[in-house]
Structure formats: C-alpha cells, structure tokens
C-alpha cells in the first residue's frame, strides 16, 4: 500500500471571520479505505435491528373461548364453533386465523430474535467505508446534502468549535461556513409522519442535516443540540447508523481539527495498526488500481499480448453467390479459363460443322451423280425398244 502514501492535504478553516485556510493537515488514511456499499448495507441492516424493543401479541388473544367443532353432517364447515346459545356469538367460528375474533397465524412471541450480532471486523470495515465516503463529494451530494457553498470537503474546522456554548453561536458558525443551507433544507422539509407512528409519539419526520464530529466536548454538544437536523458525535464513538443513514453512504460531516487528526490513530493505516482498536488495520481494497481500461491499454500489458486475430471478413457472413452456370462473372471468378474454353468449344463446333458440311456435300454430289448416270442409262434403253416396235408394225400391214 505504499502507493497510497501520497496523502493529500486538507485545509482547516476558522469558525468566524473570513473563510480562509488557517492551517493544513494531511488526510487520514481512513479516507482511502475501500468504499463498499455492500458491506455497509449488510452491517447497517443488522445494526439497525439492535435498538428494537420486544413486542408481541397477547398469549391468550383469540383463545379465550371453549369452542368445539360441530363435526360433519351439519352442512357447515368443520371449524371449531363457540358453544352455547342465546347470543350472537354462539355458533360462530373461533380459534382459526381465518376466523373473526380468532387468534392470528403464528402469534408473535417476545422471544423472537430482535438483535443481531455482527462481526467486529465487519462493523469496523463498514465504518471505515462510511467515513471514506463522507469525503467524496458526489456521494455526499447524492445523499441529498446541500454542499455547494462549502469551501471544501471534507470540511475541517478549528478546535474553537468545541468550546461553543450557545446555540446562536452555533447557527452563526453554520451560516458562516456555508453549511446552513443543509439545515434550512431540514427545517423546510419537516413533515408529519405518514402512517400510524404519528399517534405513537413519532409525530414528525426530519431529514438528516450536517453531523459535527468533535474530539472533546467543551460545550459543543449543547450548542448544536437544538438545531434541527444537526447531530453531534465524538470521534471515538462514530456510529454507522449516523454515518450512513438508511445504509446510504455520504453523510455531510463537519470535523474539528483534533477530531480529524485523531482519525489516523483511531482507524490506523495499512502499515500501522489502530491505537484504540487492538489489532485492527485498515481494510485493503481488492483492486489497488481500479482503472481497468488504463491497465489494459498500458504498455506493460499491450506488449505482451499476441496480435489481434484478423476478423475473417472473408468467410464472415453467409455469402450469397449466384449460380456460376447462369452468371458468367461468378464463373470467371472461380474458373478464369472458362471463357476461353467456351470459345474453343465454339470453334471446334464450327470446324466440325464445316467438316460435316463438306462430307455431306460430297456424299450428296455423289448421290446426284449416280442418279444422273442411271437416268442416262434408262434413256438409252428406251430408244432401243422403239426400233423394235416399228418392225412389228410393218408386218401387220402385210
């Protein structure tokens, strides 16, 4: 944790005069404790149960009858019914949680476990987280405190504050330092409680205002007591329920200088244990450097990484492709010789055609020749027969 030893400086302000730095003190190590809302929530929910008072329902409630079931065969439900007659109550259902005037389901008992044990270290962890959160302005603002006009957060003020005795002085101080806006908010938003608490001596509801933490009470407690919303606390006994009301971290705290310095002793650091809590060291964060993006992009990491795999856009998406026998461009991409092949085929066909034409012509000519020659022969034969006829005609005439 030596990297955390760069501790920033916090200004100490006076309680009157001018809002100006009169002194500077280093920030105690508690404010660098890990801020763990999950731990705070757990501890808070359990701690809040510890101020409960036992309550229960009367043990005899709903049982003060001698009701018996009528059994079957009477056209009524089998629930126990009040005995006797002469009154409206007779024959009415009794005892069941569903019955009017019956005992409730699982009547509450006083021996319910009202309080919760929490591990000491967890409690201390939560308090450290909550204190650290009080220095984080966004958290304090998101809790709802009006801290715009403050000179600084965490707000540390001179020890003279501890000697104030009059409420008037306290209010004057708050106005001087810029914290009175938070008090005004409290006054403005005081309301009657919603619900039945209002007639159970919990009539009004107030917001939480600033909390003043002191080291020695020299009148400060009484001075701030009557200011609505403002709470005081000794630095030795900081209460999580006050530091993170409703398990919401980021209470607006006004520290006195000595209280602020005492934090280093009370909560210790990662090297030195606490002086007041035996064996307690500040909780360590799981990650020292939480800027993950920065870590990943740092030289130390990037030089060791392998090269990024190329996004195979080649075969990435489902490739649609036309039928190569229908689309010549697709065919040529796959087989650049195809066009030449077709050409050659065409040439070959044509050559064959010519050759065949030659052959066909030749054979046709031969046939015609043969035909012609045979015609000539026939003609010659016909002439011969004519002569024979003439001779026969002469003979007849004789």
């Amino acid at each position: 944790m030596t990297t955390q030893q760069l501790r920033p400086i916090v200004s100490v302000f006076p309680i009157k005069g001018k809002v100006k730095t009169i002194k500077q003190v280093p920030l105690p190590s508690v404010f660098s404790a890990p801020i763990r809302p999950d731990v705070v929530r757990f501890v808070h929910t359990n701690m809040a149960k510890n101020n409960r008072q036992a309550h229960a329902v009367s043990t005899t409630a709903g049982e003060q009858t001698s009701a018996t079931s009528w059994g079957t065969g009477r056209a009524v439900a089998r629930i126990p019914r009040v005995k006797g007659s002469g009154t409206g109550r007779s024959g009415q259902a009794a005892f069941g949680n569903m019955c009017r005037g019956g005992r409730m389901y699982a009547p509450k008992k006083v021996w319910r476990k009202w309080h919760r044990k929490i591990n000491t270290n967890q409690k201390r962890y939560a308090v450290c987280s909550a204190i650290a959160a009080t220095a984080v302005t966004p958290l304090v603002m998101s809790r709802g405190h009006r801290v715009n006009k403050l000179p600084e957060l965490p707000l540390v003020v001179s020890d003279q504050l501890q000697s104030l005795t009059k409420t008037r002085q306290a209010v004057k101080f708050l106005k001087f330092i810029g914290a009175y806006r938070d008090v005004e908010k409290v006054i403005r938003t005081k309301k009657t409680r919603v619900g039945q608490g209002k007639y159970r001596n919990r009539r009004h509801v107030l917001r939480k205002g600033p909390m003043v933490v002191y080291a020695r009470n020299l009148g400060i407690k009484k001075a701030f007591r009557n200011i609505p919303g403002v709470e005081t606390a000794s630095v030795y006994t900081l209460n999580l329920l006050k530091l993170a009301p409703g398990s919401q971290m980021g209470r607006f705290i006004i520290w006195t200088e000595s209280a602020f310095k005492l934090l280093e002793d009370i909560y210790g650091s990662w090297e030195k244990p606490s002086k007041f809590k035996s064996g307690f060291y500040l909780p360590r964060p799981v990650m020292v450097n939480t800027d993950v993006e920065r870590i990943i992009k740092s030289d130390q990491v990037q030089t060791v990484l392998r090269n990024r795999r190329p996004r195979s856009r080649k075969y990435g998406k489902k490739i649609q492709r036309a039928d190569p026998y229908e689309d010549m461009s697709v065919m040529l991409k796959l087989n650049p010789y195809y066009k030449t092949k077709l050409q050659k085929q065409k040439e070959l066909e044509e050559k064959n055609k010519e050759e065949r034409k030659e052959i066909v012509d030749k054979s046709r000519k031969e046939y015609e020749d043969w035909l012609y020659f045979s015609e000539e022969e026939e003609e010659e034969e016909e002439e011969g027969s004519d002569e024979d006829r003439e001779i026969e005609v002469l003979s007849d005439e004789n």
């Binding site: 920065r294 992009k297 990037q302 090269n307 075969y315 490739i319 065919m331 991409k333 087989n335 650049p336």
Partner: protein, 239 residues
C-alpha cells in the same frame, strides 16, 4: 487550443499491428496472392481440359483397336462413385445407419463422392437399399462442385465463393482452384481424401420428374443401388 489526443490512443496508434502501413502491406500481399492464384487457375484449367480430351480419345482408340482385332477392350474399373441417399431417416437399421453416417449421408438427397475399392464397395453393399450410386463423368463432377459445392471451413458450411478459399485450405496438397479440385476428385488423385473432406456433403433437390419406386433396385426398374453411368442424368435432375 489544439485538440488533445488521449495518451492511450496515441500509444495504440504507435503499436505495429494497428498501423496503416502494416495494413497496407497485408492488403498488397493479398492482392498479389489472388492474382497468382487466378493465373495458376487459368493455366491448370487449360491443362486439365487437354488431359480430359486426351483420356477420352485414348479410350476411343483402344476400343476401336480392339474391335478391329476382333476382341474386346476391357475398360479400367471405375475409381470414383457418387452416392445419393434416397431414403429418409425413419426406420433405418443400425448397420446401414452407421455406414450412412460414416459416409456423411445424414439426410435424404444428400450426396457424396467416394473412392471405389474393396472396402468401400462392401460398405455400399450394405446401404444399397437406401442409396443410389454410379460413376459420374467430368461434367457432373464440375456441375456439382461449381453449383452445389460448399466447403467445410472452421466447422462451418460455406459456399465456395472464390479460389482463395480453396487455396487457404488445400494449398499444401497443391490444390489451388476449382478446376484443381474437380480434377482431384474426378481422377481420384493422391489427395482425394483431403479434397473430398474439404467438400461438405452435397445437398441436392428432389429429382425433377420424380422417382419410379425407391423400394426396388435400379436393375428391377426401381431406383436404388448401382446405376453406373445413369447417375449422370439423375444428378442433372437433382442439381
């Protein structure tokens, strides 16, 4: 005020695998490679055309010669078969089922090339009732690979879009382009196994004009079993 560039972005730009120059270099290499592949493809296609023609002519000559001498020319037994599964998945007994799986014929009308040897012929014997097969000619092989050829890339079925795809996978077997692939398959070369496994099983369409009856064998006017050269006409109907 000049625009401030965050330090991390500055550093990122410096790193080599992201820089413009490296990308440019890669691109140049790639285009050069593509050009080489296409040139090779042209030359090899030319070579193979001649080869196929010569083969045909040789066969004719030998046959004619044999006729003249009054004898027969016994053609070499076919080395390549194309199998199409013509029966569905329901009710297939375990042995034929397993064999069909081994041959990648997992669905109806799927087709694969297979090298014919004693062992594969035995396998075909068992699955005869579920498939029809025969000896494809060059044009059938071409049509199948060009039109319905899908590659097995990264355990995925991708249509063969360019010769680059073939080059990436089969370069070490000296198969660089489509015609190389066709040649390897048709002539059942040394690297037939790799060429064939590069191809996903062909998914064909049901035949135009239908089947007569798949229950009978081809020899008995049905459809299943060996149909030798008539596989070519069937593939034309199914492609």
């Amino acid at each position: 005020m000049s625009k401030q560039v965050p330090e991390t972005i500055k550093k990122q730009k410096k790193r080599s695998f992201n820089s413009k120059e490296v990308k440019q270099e890669k691109n140049e290499k790639r285009t050069k490679l593509l050009k080489e592949i296409q040139e090779k493809a042209y030359k090899r296609a030319e070579k193979y055309e001649k080869e196929y023609l010569e083969q045909d002519q040789k066969l004719k000559e030998l046959k004619q010669k044999a006729l003249k001498e009054g004898s027969f020319y016994r053609e070499p037994e076919p080395k390549l078969a194309f199998i199409i599964r013509i029966r569905g998945i329901v009710g297939v007994p375990p042995k034929p089922r397993k064999i069909l799986q081994l041959l990648r014929l997992r669905r109806i009308y799927s087709g694969v090339f297979i090298r014919l040897n004693k062992s594969s012929l035995r396998m075909l014997h068992f699955i005869d009732p579920y498939v029809t097969w025969g000896y494809p000619d060059v044009e059938t092989v071409r049509a199948l690979i060009y039109k319905r050829g899908h590659a097995r890339v990264n355990h995925q079925r991708k249509i063969i879009d360019s010769n680059e795809m073939i080059y990436d996978k089969l370069q070490k077997y000296d198969i660089v382009c489509m015609e190389d692939l066709v040649h390897e398959i048709f002539t059942v070369g040394k690297n037939f196994k790799h060429a064939n496994s590069f191809l996903w099983a062909f998914k064909l369409k049901p035949p135009v004009g239908g089947f007569s009856t798949v229950k009978k064998s081809f020899v008995n006017k049905g459809e299943h079993g060996n149909r030798e050269q008539y596989i070519n006409t069937l593939v034309k109907k199914m492609i």
